[in-house]
């Protein structure tokens, strides 16, 4: 079982939920930028563990499936299609042997996640199949996909009611199983509201600065990448000079270098940082942030840590429900609780 890469797309990498357990060596966690869409895609195809999915950025690849495979795509709408016929997002579909899957123009979001039932057959590096491009390890050969790559497909999946029972001659079959509505999206041009938890150095900033941070729109700088989103907007002033001792950071940490321009640390973030942390984006809002394109404006509002964790636990329960739906009925409709 394998998939041949006919065109690689702009930046297509294998990602799972990240390489945890090695931050003590400075090993970057990495993983899917939009953890939610990654997990939804995996659940829809019945993968047992946290299998790597293809994280497809802005411009998608062209892939040829050597054998029939059960796949699901979630996250950004990058016009996935077979011969011009659109592949729905958030649903399991069977792709027939020899079929070519293409992507087209970007409709919304930035990153699509393609899961294949059985996972991708690449060897984990430090317990993870995530690609760390800067370090050149993990995923497929430690790099983004290139033309001519052949991705092996693994066999680590449950048999779900809608798994293909025999080889299909159809290029695409919309099989049973739940349909997952797209995650929270936004209207183009509108500032996206993101919830944040006050950071360890919140008090270091002047009251006027904190008010500015919570009322002004900030624009995502085009130099943003998987490591961090640099934001343009009113500079954030500290009460006093403050040279911090470097310490751990997390996915979503908003740090402020001396120039006052905040940076939101994303999947390929460094393991530690020495800039004051004004806030941290709530984990439930990170998938939304991960789907924002450069020049998109965002606004921050604070929530309590307890509330952020309660929202996160709700999200985790929703995934468990989705798994049950996939296994029990194989059919149905399912949507993220609006938050």
């Amino acid at each position: 079982m394998s998939i041949e890469v006919l065109k690689p797309g702009a930046l297509t990498t294998l990602q799972d939920l990240g390489r945890y357990g090695y931050q003590r060596f400075g090993v970057v966690v990495g993983g899917a930028m939009d953890e939610w869409s990654h997990q939804v895609a995996n659940e829809l195809v019945g993968n047992i563990d946290d299998e790597a999915t293809l994280e497809i950025t802005l411009v998608g690849p062209s892939l040829r499936f050597a054998q029939a495979a059960l796949i699901a795509i979630a996250g950004a709408d990058l016009s996935a299609n077979v011969g011009g016929h659109p592949i729905p997002l958030g649903r399991a579909v069977t792709i027939g042997a020899g079929t070519q899957l293409d992507f087209g123009s970007r409709v919304h979001g930035v990153r699509a996640y393609l899961a294949v039932s059985g996972g991708f057959g690449v060897t984990p590096v430090m317990d993870s199949r995530s690609t760390y491009v800067r370090g050149g390890f993990g995923g497929f050969a430690g790099r983004a996909l290139r033309r001519g790559d052949v991705l092996p497909i693994g066999s680590r999946a449950r048999t779900v009611p809608h798994s293909p029972k025999r080889p299909t001659a159809q290029p695409v079959t919309l099989v049973g199983g739940p349909a997952v509505a797209a995650g929270p999206t936004h209207l183009a041009g509108e500032a996206v509201s993101l919830r944040v938890i006050a950071g360890a150095q919140w008090e270091l900033f002047t009251p006027e600065t904190l008010a500015t941070f919570l009322t002004s729109p900030y624009q995502i700088n085009p130099q943003s990448d998987r490591m961090g989103y640099r934001l343009e907007g009113p500079a954030l002033q500290r009460r006093r000079d403050f040279e911090m001792i470097s310490e751990g950071v997390a996915f979503g940490t908003v740090q402020v270098p001396p120039d006052g321009k905040p940076i939101v640390l994303m999947a390929d973030r460094q393991t530690t940082g020495g800039y004051p942390k004004i806030a941290c984006v709530a984990s439930v809002d990170l998938p939304l942030m991960a789907q924002l394109a450069p020049r998109q404006a965002v606004r921050f509002r604070t929530i309590e840590l307890q509330e952020a964790q309660a929202l996160y636990q709700t999200r985790a329960r929703e995934l468990t429900e989705l798994r049950k739906l996939v296994l029990d009925t194989g059919v149905g409709s399912w949507a993220v609780e609006s938050t």
């Binding site: 090695y22 003590r24 400075g26 970057v28 938890i197 130099q223 490591m227 310490e247 001396p258 636990q313």
Partner: protein, 234 residues
Amino acid sequence: MTVLLTDFQWRIAPTGDRCLIVEFGQRADTAVNRIVHAFARQLDDLSIKGIVDVAPAFTTVSIHYRPECFGYEALRERMNDLLAQGIPQHPGLERHVEIPVCYGGACGPDLDEVATACGCTSAQVMERHIASPHRVAMLGFVPGFPYIAGLDPSLSVPRRATPRTRVPTGTVAIAGSQTGIYPFETPGGWNLIGRTPLPMFDLGRASPCLLQPGDLPRFVSITLEEYLGAQGTT
């Protein structure tokens, strides 16, 4: 019999909704750093379900956890109980490691600026850097990046106001009281004073990181020709 470290104070604070940080003081000295690494080791040995990563730094241990398993308050209480009982001591393994560095020029574009800021010559920056009693306090930032404490206080300069988007592989840089070495080309905010041909991180080695916490690096000045020659062989 295990010796327990009990002479320390700590403070616990959240960093977002999936991480908490235990801080053992505001001074990045060797005594505090030894407590940090002993506590990280203790947490490893306990392997508590729901804790996904333990990252020791200078004065802090970051604990990354799954909020599905426990909320912040519950984990904080558990850590408080643990710390109140003392931390089992582990003897450190301190190795001497020689690091060849080509200082200044294209390898260390900020060397002259550092000299100006410190009111000395570029040669003096180099001499004082070599003479400083360096000790690796932690690894972090990117794989194999050592934070090396012990820099001569007269060379203390802050991080750059705007981080560079690209710092070349092997760059030796300083900020505050520390030296760091960039194992990969990454963005970086430190002051670049030189470059080493030694690979800091190599997955082909049994232990991918060249330096470990507690190691005692000794910097040695090499010429640009020696740097380029050595780089060709690694």
